[in-house]
């Protein structure tokens, strides 16, 4: 059983009183809302042969936002009470003393839902979860005597949100989210290397763990660690890079995704702000940001302002088409919200953010790409990335990569950072593969101190020139 949170049930504040305070506070503002959130999360961690941690968190609070022109006033609290909401209202009014805006009541509607209203935490008992984690530990340790450390964990969450706008319009959503991660460390002749893999999404644990599905996650972590145990120092310098499908799309997320978020472009601090309608990528490169894929980690039925999410085309056949927008930046840039307004939780203001960012398939094969490279690297798995949106420079860290010598895959190489320039890297893409793949569902994107779950996808791609940050000259 699961149900919507009733935020006013145990409060001295009634829904209608709250609506009155909201409408009265926002009457001369351009936009704003009361955002209520109730989240329950659970984490169970196996490490070093033991259940190291079992913890449960329950978080409740509201964030009250008023916007006038470019100015945002925000106040949040854990106490849903008359006093607390009134104090927040006073805070907002004191920031926006002399404003004269017109409230925009319009918000698009949709009946589509991209995940079920479930509480994944309740769908499996603690004992069942502990059992799987110890099976994971035993399975990996029995596979090889080189296994010296195993860490495995479950993270489950159910977040209920409600958005009350001026005039009393109310929008709500219940969001399930789970993650299952395995990390394994191997040791051989004194050398240690780690392999990490995980899966997740907005659905129940059973989708990932039924039968022996969890073994696939273990095998993949073990495979990556084994490859790294044989790795040689990575080369240093500019060379051709073939990226595998799926998770390496972190490149897309860092290189162009952040730079196409509305706020940086309104403020003209993104390297892309003056490139709308221009060619920013090779022909054949199409990139979308999609919040509407069923049960994906980055999907949302509505965003955190209540706007239904959508499939937004960012780059179409090499041409820059759209930025990702929340309501504030959309209004100031005279366009519409793309349903990209997100926040980590009620403690944070809304920012335009990515959902599932994807490069669509082309018509080359990975084999063709590798064959065409005399000297370069083939990168299959990544740890994470970062971007400086102003200079456009971005990095991402390989966790599984190989050298390519004369069109053939050679030895594995040690983890290295790859660096490139966002606005020009996609022009260096010379082949787009026919093998688009989604990531396994474990990505978290950080911006302005807020982490939100996201997804990425891409086919294999060949990049003509990128700097590989190894140690071998």
């Amino acid at each position: 059983m699961s149900f919507m949170s009733n935020f006013f049930e145990k409060s001295d504040l009634s829904r209608s009183e709250a609506e009155n305070i909201i409408s009265e506070t926002l009457q001369k503002c351009d936009d704003g809302e009361l955002y209520l959130e109730n989240s329950k999360s659970e984490s169970i961690l196996l490490d070093d042969n033991k259940i190291k941690n079992s913890s449960y968190n329950s978080d409740l609070g509201f964030g009250f936002r008023a916007i006038s022109d470019e100015v945002v006033a925000y106040s949040h609290s854990n106490e849903i009470s008359k006093n607390s909401l009134k104090q927040s209202s006073e805070n907002l009014k004191s920031t926006l003393k002399s404003v004269k805006g017109t409230y925009n009541y319009e918000i698009p509607k949709s009946n589509k839902k991209y995940y079920k209203n479930i509480n994944p935490i309740e769908q499996k008992s603690l004992n069942e979860k502990i059992k799987i984690l110890s099976d994971v530990n035993n399975y990996l340790r029995s596979k090889s005597d080189k296994v010296k450390q195993v860490t495995a964990n479950f993270l489950g969450e159910q977040k209920s949100v409600e958005i009350i706008r001026s005039g009393g319009e109310t929008l709500s959503d219940v969001r399930p989210l789970i993650r299952f991660n395995v990390s394994v460390m191997l040791e051989k002749n004194g050398r240690k290397e780690t392999g990490v893999y995980g899966v997740g999404g907005r659905q129940s644990y059973d989708m990932y763990l039924k039968d022996d599905n969890w073994k696939k996650v273990c095998d993949e972590a073990l495979r990556i660690a084994s490859v790294n145990l044989e790795s040689k120092p990575a080369p240093a310098g500019e060379m051709k890079v073939v990226l595998g499908p799926g998770w390496p799309a972190i490149l897309i997320h860092e290189a162009v995704g952040h730079g196409l978020e509305g706020d940086f472009n309104r403020k003209k601090t993104s390297a892309f702000h003056n490139l709308m309608g221009q060619k920013v990528a090779s022909e054949g490169v199409t990139i979308i940001d999609d919040g509407t894929i069923d049960n994906r980690r980055g999907s949302l039925t509505i965003d955190d302002e209540g706007t239904p999410t959508e499939k937004t085309v960012l780059i179409e056949n090499g041409i820059l088409k759209n930025f990702m927008q929340d309501r504030l930046n959309a209004r100031l840039m005279k366009t519409r919200s793309t349903g990209s307004g997100r926040r980590e939780n009620y403690r944070h203001i809304v920012l335009p953010r990515m959902r599932n960012t994807m490069m669509l398939s082309g018509n080359h094969t990975q084999e063709e790409m590798i064959k065409s490279v005399d000297k370069g690297i083939f990168a299959v798995s990544f740890g994470g990335g970062q971007v400086d949106i102003t200079s456009g420079k971005f990095v991402f860290n390989c966790t599984e990569a190989y050298e390519i010598v004369n069109g053939k895959i050679g030895s594995p190489i040690k983890g290295a950072t790859l660096i490139g320039d966002g606005p020009s890297i996609l022009k260096e893409v010379s082949m787009v593969g026919n093998d688009m793949m989604m990531d396994p569902g474990i990505g978290t994107c950080g911006k302005a101190g807020q982490g939100v779950p996201v997804g990425v996808a891409q086919p294999s791609i060949l990049i003509n020139k990128m700097t590989v940050g190894g140690t071998k000259l």
């Binding site: 329950s58 470019e70 100015v71 240690k192 780690t194 970062q386 950072t417 590989v468």
Partner: protein, 438 residues
């Protein structure tokens, strides 16, 4: 206003009592309240105001050697009743771990010194606005600056840590933080940089004018960067990057990484991991220190540690659980270091710049390229080419790489340490690293 000690103590006592009634043999609880008020400016105009009032409680219950924990932001007793019951139930169903326990009683902090960590000053939004106006005027003085974003935050916090062995302590802390991020532009490039100041006491905060100027200058000097070729070159780390290398050292000597065998510094106590000249201290009792404390997050007293003495590693950072596993006593470092710093080196900043005919001065790194299992290091970087002691031109889109085992042995420090943050380093020179560029 931030909740007082009485309120927090009452909540803590309520939780410990209830946990005991429900069958916990031991338990510990932290109750926190933090109130912060922020004003943001952009291009000399008000951009955002943000007030946050955060309550939080976390409870760990033990039944013998079984353990579980819960946390919540809802401090109403009826919610706590449900959660504590759930916590005790979960504890019963969690397997035993022989190393689970509260800290040894004789290690708990007995006396608590006043470390001067709380400034009662209440700064109104109008005062924040005045500070930010001054700051942004200074930051946008040069025409090359095309965007300024700055922020002023006042934070007041209070907490209580209590356990069933009778420990019950906590105190108020305050912080005042001002920051400035500027964007500069010329025909060829657009660059961003920043500066910030954070202090326990308002009167110690950097001057608004100085902060704005510094942020702007640091940004303007990055314009029109070049990319250089790949080579082995001496690298000089600006203090703000050098302190990150010190933090990586601290995570590699945390008792959890050591007991799990996932650190390149495992079994290195009493071995030489730096050159003779390197000394590293962690000093928790500095007055007004941003990392200062009387006890760690388990209540264990914290004394000053000389972590590295003439290049030799002397201590790990030990908490109760991992200490028991390693057969070592906790040294009060659950939750990490306090005020961590390298002792000054013996050459000046100028001599450090001059020590090689050609070197790279790094002011920013990006990416998560530190691997504490292997010690491998590879990050994206921006900075300047230095020739014969002089800054020649800005550099970007390069990476720097090495392995901490070698890098640590090669660290040379200048004598320009400033205690600005919780972790601090003088300017640092490391020879023998590889730059990848063109």
């Amino acid at each position: 206003m931030v909740k007082d000690q009485e309120f927090l103590k009452k909540k803590a006592a309520y939780c410990l009592d209830l946990a005991k009634k429900l069958g916990a043999t031991d338990s510990s609880v932290v109750v926190k309240n933090s109130v912060s008020e922020t004003v943001n400016f952009r291009n000399k105009k008000l951009d955002e105001s943000n007030r946050s009032d955060d309550l939080g409680i976390s409870i760990t219950t033990y039944i013998g050697k079984k353990k579980s924990s819960i946390s919540s932001s809802n401090l109403l007793n009826e919610n706590l009743n449900v959660l504590i019951e759930k916590c005790v139930e979960t504890t019963k169903n969690t397997p035993e771990d022989e190393f689970n326990s509260l800290p040894d009683r004789d290690l708990l902090a007995q006396e608590v010194k006043d470390l001067d960590l709380y400034d009662d000053t209440q700064i109104e939004n109008d005062q924040k606005i005045n500070y930010l106006k001054k700051l942004e005027d200074a930051a946008s003085n040069d025409k090359k600056i095309v965007n300024t974003e700055s922020s002023f935050t006042q934070n007041k916090s209070n907490f209580i840590l209590a356990n069933t062995d009778g420990f019950c302590n906590g105190h108020k802390t305050s912080s005042f933080t001002a920051s400035s991020v500027t964007v500069a532009k010329d025909e060829k490039s657009m660059e961003r940089d920043y500066e910030y100041s954070s202090k326990c006491f308002l009167k110690d905060l950097d001057d608004a004018n100085e902060l704005g100027k510094l942020a702007a200058n640091q940004t303007i000097r990055k314009l029109s960067p070049k990319k250089i070729g790949s080579e082995k070159i001496a690298i000089i780390f600006d203090k703000r990057i050098a302190k990150g290398i010190l933090s990586t050292f601290a995570s590699a000597i945390s008792s959890s990484a050591i007991s799990r065998g996932t650190s390149f510094l495992k079994d290195k106590v009493n071995q030489k991991i730096f050159s003779d000249k390197i000394n590293i201290f962690d000093k928790p009792d500095m007055l007004k220190g941003l990392g200062s404390r009387n006890f760690d997050s388990e209540g264990v007293k914290t004394d000053t540690l000389k972590l590295v003495d003439q290049g030799i590693l002397k201590h790990y950072l030990i908490d109760t659980y991992n200490g028991k596993k390693l057969n070592l006593k906790s040294n009060g470092r659950c939750g990490g270091t306090s005020n961590l710093y390298f002792e000054n080196g013996n050459i000046s900043f100028k001599d450090l710049l001059n020590s090689n005919s050609k070197s790279l001065y790094i002011t920013e790194t990006i990416g998560h390229g530190s691997n504490i299992v292997t010690g491998d290091y590879s990050v994206g970087a921006t900075g300047f080419l230095v020739e014969n002691g002089e800054f020649k031109f800005p550099i970007n889109e390069i990476t720097i790489a090495g392995n901490f085992k070698d890098m640590f042995q090669n660290i040379i420090l200048a004598n320009d340490l400033e205690l600005k943050y919780a972790t601090n380093s003088p300017t640092m020179l490391i020879e023998g690293m590889v730059v990848a560029g063109k």
